[in-house]
């Protein structure tokens, strides 16, 4: 059933409408929310949302509970290929929890929080931006990790990044929900403005595995990947020091050794190499720059160090 979460009049003959699909069956009271589309340029999750809805409709008898799918929290951004909210240039994921008596966007954010709150679990799916490609991963802050890790391990991701909390992130959807008792996992995968079917399928398998463990799905599921669990200190950041055109020499998902060449920053005007970019540590390249033009400081890669601070292996609730 398609439901309207909130709607607001736009200036000329149109409403900003946030919709969700509620798919329900059986007697189980548990509810899972799949949330996508806060950033208008992140489209990987559109495929994921469709996959889940398609599977549930074809096999509704295997569902025992409620699945709410929110494919587009920022419909105006998706429509106009805009990451933030058009007109305001605001990052919607910095406006939560919003306010019932606030501006248009604040009231929209508040209504979304109200609608999701109380779910047994929420999965907020992101897909990087147009600049970086990401391996399917789950991110969480240290304070939430004790609660969220058991669920994250079921989601069939390659790794789980537990990072330090930052005050500025307190305005995100995930923080707002977690801090009010609705367990929310943030998935990152792929690249902006594109759909990578493989990643969509991977997280799809993970979500059905999670639902099975929660007693909401009676169908077959795949054995989830055993993710690497990383603390913040085990991630190496590679930023460009030069400006130019970045051409990688490694592939996404490669394991590299410290000082291996990751790529070059080229100067097409002079036909020169401006910078030879090297790995800052041994490990897995889980983030790689997709958009080639760079300035000094542009993020080129993130490398996951496999050492005594990282933990291999999944688990059960």
């Amino acid at each position: 059933m398609i439901k309207t979460v909130t709607e607001t009049m736009l200036a000329v003959n149109e409403k900003l409408r946030i919709q969700k699909s509620t798919i329900k069956n059986g007697s189980e009271k548990k509810r899972i929310c799949i949330v996508t589309g806060t950033h208008g340029d992140e489209l990987e999750r559109q495929y994921l949302a469709w996959l889940i809805g398609d599977e549930l409709r074809r096999n509704i008898s295997l569902l025992d509970g409620t699945v709410d799918i929110y494919p587009a929290l920022n419909p105006l951004g998706i429509d106009s290929i805009t990451r933030g909210i058009p007109q305001f240039d605001l990052d919607m994921n910095r406006v939560f929890p919003g306010s019932r008596n606030g501006t248009m966007i604040e009231t929209v954010c508040s209504a979304i929080i109200d609608d999701i709150s109380g779910a047994d679990i929420c999965i907020d799916v992101h897909s990087s931006n147009i600049f970086l490609r990401e391996l399917p991963q789950i991110r969480m802050s240290v304070p939430t990790s004790e609660t969220l890790l058991p669920y994250a391990k079921m989601l069939n991701v390659d790794f789980i990044w537990v990072h330090e909390s930052a005050t500025v992130l307190e305005s995100t959807l995930a923080h707002s929900l977690n801090s009010t008792g609705t367990k929310t996992l943030v998935v990152e995968m792929g690249v902006g403005m594109r759909i990578t079917r493989e990643y969509g399928r991977q997280i799809f398998d993970g979500i059905f595995n999670l639902m099975k463990n929660m007693g909401m799905w009676k169908g077959d599921t795949v054995e989830p990947r055993r993710p690497i669990i990383s603390q913040n200190s085990a991630v190496g950041f590679v930023n460009s020091d030069a400006d130019g055109v970045f051409l990688p020499e490694v592939s996404f998902g490669d394991y590299v050794k410290k000082d291996d060449v990751l790529g070059n920053v080229l100067d097409p005007l002079r036909g020169e190499i401006r910078e030879v970019v090297r790995a800052v540590c041994d490990g897995l390249v889980f983030t790689l720059r997709e958009y080639p033009i760079v300035y000094g400081g542009s993020l080129l890669a993130r490398i996951l160090t496999i050492d005594d601070k990282t933990v291999k292996g999944g688990g059960e609730i």
Partner: protein, 307 residues
């Protein structure tokens, strides 16, 4: 005046982004003033340019106090200004959400870091800012309440209103907030324009900043008298949001006194021209902010009234 490059960034195909600072006087770091951190803040850059012009005159006539150094940065992000963008040219990130910056971080973090290093150590910091939503408002000074800066210091500007804002999580990466964490008493000054030029408002803000500098003893030339500043908590300002979408017409200009129950604006159906919403104020007061775009969505802040 010493004009210097405070931070420089190379680009593959453009001239370097050279952040220019104008220094006046010498000795103790007294006041730093920052204009446009975003590409649409033309008025804020313009105000700084007029301040630089005035400060040059004051320097030439010996009216900058001894042992006082004043730094003015009219524009940080002119790369975006030159191509009509608000945020950073490539990643669309906001430099004013990157402070205190990080020299090994991403491009805008590096710019913020490079500039912030030059802004540290000043006793006072003034940032010329704009409201994220377009509209007309009365020039005012705002303080982000961190416990470091005394709200009473806002009176030194002689603007009609001084607003105290309780910081939200997204404020913690602004220049104003970080200035205070690094022990500079910081103020944000709002002029009634952003992407255009308003000469009246510019003159008012330039006079306010000169008044402030005279009050702290950084300059010796007395400025024109100002107002007795009324200090208000931001949360106490009465806000009116639109109850419909359509064509917006304001019936009163900013600064007007209004009566309780007075109709101060209308929303008109864009198709049949009928008034679909009359905007009335529940309180008597002064119109502090007024939305100024022809089209308005529902739940948009359209008036703020100081009661």
């Amino acid at each position: 005046m010493k004009k210097e490059i405070l931070y420089s960034l190379k680009s593959p195909y453009r001239d370097n982004l050279d952040v220019i600072g104008c220094r006046f006087g010498s000795g103790k770091k007294s006041v730093a003033i920052v204009g446009a951190t975003r590409g649409n803040k033309i008025q804020q850059m313009y105000i700084c340019s007029q301040l630089v012009r005035t400060m040059k005159r004051l320097e030439k006539t010996g009216k900058i106090s001894p042992n006082c150094e004043i730094l003015i940065i009219p524009c940080i992000n002119y790369y975006s200004m030159n191509i009509g963008k608000r945020f950073w040219t490539m990643g669309n990130t906001d430099i004013n959400r990157m402070f205190p910056g990080y020299d090994q971080g991403e491009t805008t973090q590096r710019i913020a870091d490079g500039v912030f290093r030059k802004l540290e150590g000043y006793e006072y910091g003034i940032q010329l800012v704009s409201f994220y939503q377009t509209g007309n408002f009365l020039p005012h000074v705002k303080l982000m309440e961190t416990g470091f800066t005394d709200p009473a210091d806002m009176e030194r500007f002689g603007l009609k209103y001084g607003i105290v804002r309780k910081p939200r999580p997204y404020d913690t990466t602004t220049l104003n907030y970080n200035w205070q964490i690094w022990e500079t008493k910081a103020f944000s000054v709002y002029s009634n324009e952003t992407s255009g030029i308003d000469d009246v408002s510019c003159s008012e803000v330039v006079a306010a900043i000169l008044r402030f500098m005279y009050s702290i003893g950084a300059i010796t030339e007395k400025s024109v008298p100002g107002y007795k500043t009324e200090i208000i908590n931001e949360s106490d300002i009465y806000q009116i949001r639109s109850s419909a979408g359509g064509i917006f017409r304001a019936d009163v200009p900013t600064g007007s006194p209004v009566e309780q129950g007075q109709v101060i604006g209308r929303i008109i159906d864009p198709i049949d021209g009928k008034t679909i919403s009359q905007i009335t104020t529940e309180y008597a007061g002064t119109v502090f902010f007024e939305y100024n775009q022809p089209l308005i969505n529902e739940s948009t802040m359209c008036f703020k009234i100081i009661v």
